[in-house]
Subunit: 329 residues, 2 copies
């Protein structure tokens, strides 16, 4: 039986996610409804993607009995309300990253999912790419020995709007942080040191962070809204190196001790808004597999990881002086 998806928000990322679903077998994944704040937007999206039901409110989607799981593609300041709406309606949820604006909100979302006994996952899509699966395999085999250092960069032109949760950390840093956290198995760092440059809008344009882990292991990352960084990542071990060439947030190649392997994503059936978006198919398939097994969280991107990422975010923002209105509530 197909996993029946509802799409919350008819924006750019929802478009890409829906295109990605179409690269998977129709007997496995089906989009049954889409909801937007304006009915016309939902209807246009439904027409474009051949979806039978279009709603002008998220509440209607939450009430739709045909929906197994909702993909939440709204801007991140709206994640909290959207996630709670769907979990309270007993819907499973895949919510775009970052899961929420701070750790307090993340806890509220996770609690709501647990209370309602539904599946919930932060859409850390990078983790489900074949290249990322291969990284975890290599690390488990200690192929590069003991990992000593992880480094990641992500800098692209991106929104600096504070009310949209913009800035280098939530939009870009999350990709670096989730990568580092994956390599170090969701371990909490012993120390975090962050330095950044804030804009007049109150968000950070530049961010550099050093993380110290147990057993003499370290990590560092750099984010920039505005300039194009190298956008790669590297894992350095005592016996070798794994490089993730750009785009490290949606990787299609891996260089292991200088040997490169390609992991191409499928061609899209419609033009995409973002790089390699058909790679969202891997996280969608993870959701399906978890639902088939009756899991309430993904072992690859568990709730504890989402909470840890949010806690690290909070600490980094405290150090660089970025405060969102959500932090004051």
């Amino acid at each position: 039986m197909a996993t029946r998806w509802g799409i919350c928000s008819a924006g750019k990322i929802s478009h890409d996610f829906t295109v990605a679903l179409k690269t998977l077998p129709a007997e496995d994944h089906q989009v049954v409804a889409v909801a937007a704040r304006k009915l016309e937007d939902a209807q246009e999206f439904a027409r474009k993607h051949n979806i039978s039901k279009a709603y002008g409110s998220y509440e209607e989607l939450a009430r739709d009995p045909d929906v197994d799981v909702v993909y939440v593609g709204v801007v991140h300041p709206c994640h909290l309300n959207a996630c709670k709406l769907f979990t309270n309606a007993k819907k499973n949820v895949l919510c775009e990253k970052p899961l929420a604006m701070n750790a307090k909100e993340v806890k509220e979302i996770l609690d709501s999912a647990k209370k309602n006994n539904v599946f919930l996952m932060e859409a850390a899509w990078t983790r489900f790419f074949p290249a990322s699966v291969q990284i975890r395999n290599l690390l488990a085999q200690e192929y590069i020995g003991d990992v000593k250092m992880v480094r990641a960069d992500y800098g692209v032109p991106r929104s600096d709007q504070k009310d949209l949760g913009g800035g280098a950390l939530l939009d870009l840093g999350i990709f670096c942080l989730q990568f580092i956290s994956m390599v170090y198995n969701g371990e909490k760092p012993e120390s975090i040191q962050a330095s950044g440059i804030c804009l007049e809008t109150g968000v950070n344009k530049t961010l550099a962070v050093i993380l110290k882990y147990s057993k003499n292991r370290m990590a560092m990352f750099t984010c920039f809204t505005g300039v194009q960084l190298h956008n790669d990542a590297i894992i350095v071990g005592t016996k070798g190196k794994i490089q993730v060439p750009s785009p490290m947030w949606c990787p299609t190649s891996l260089v292991v001790n200088k040997k490169e392997t390609q992991y191409p994503v499928p061609e899209p059936s419609l033009p995409l808004n973002f790089t390699n978006s058909t790679g969202k198919r891997y996280e969608a398939e993870e959701v399906r597999q978890c639902l088939l097994k009756g899991l309430k969280e993904s072992p690859v991107m568990p709730h504890a990881d989402s909470l840890l990422l949010a806690e690290m975010d909070d600490e980094i923002r405290r150090q660089v002086g970025v405060v969102y209105s959500q932090d004051c509530q």
Copy 2:
């Protein structure tokens, strides 16, 4: 007339420097004497390199009237005494990096050079490679727009012995720091944040540093004694990128907006101890040109830069808790 060199210490780096001098015209550079703490070592070095005079003490070298400039290749805890010995004997000096163990010692060396009116330069050889000259040209032309970020890595198996001034910062970090400082034109950073892992020997095995400069510019670097890092550097500007592939500390290629150019160093006449050591010819020629012009410091590696590097080193060591015996005097 040839610049007449005296070599202080018959160790590995002095060997490489002497081989590098031989790649330059003999009418420009001549090695007239070598000194070691043991006469036999100096004699063996002299035989191997065809040097007419060998001394069993540095004092004899300092008194030799045929020596125009002394290359100081002793371990860095001995730089202070060696440099003062030669400057007080009115010899010009090229001293290996780091110039000394801390800023206090560096000041003492610089003061001694000024007082005796001799030329003195820290052997920041990287700056004189053709690839580095090209970097400075490109930056002066604003070829990659406004520089926003500089990143460098340097990690190799290296001494952790505290009494030799070992550890990630003085041995390796100096290469990253001098690179960053070159790009930012010897400007003092607004803030320094360092994180590192100390060994039981009291030196740091791992080091990660974030530097914040004026006008929203940043830099970061990582050092490791023990694991092989990427050992490259990158300069990110608003209009493009300059990459310095490994080995960034003695670069023979440059990638400017993805276009690579090679800058090979000459073949050595004898086996070398360290990578690309014939590239020491460029700093030697800088010394000659400065002496011919009657300069007391190099405009490319001025005294102010040596002092700033030492001050940054001191601050970084303060933050990561590395204290050398020299700091307590």
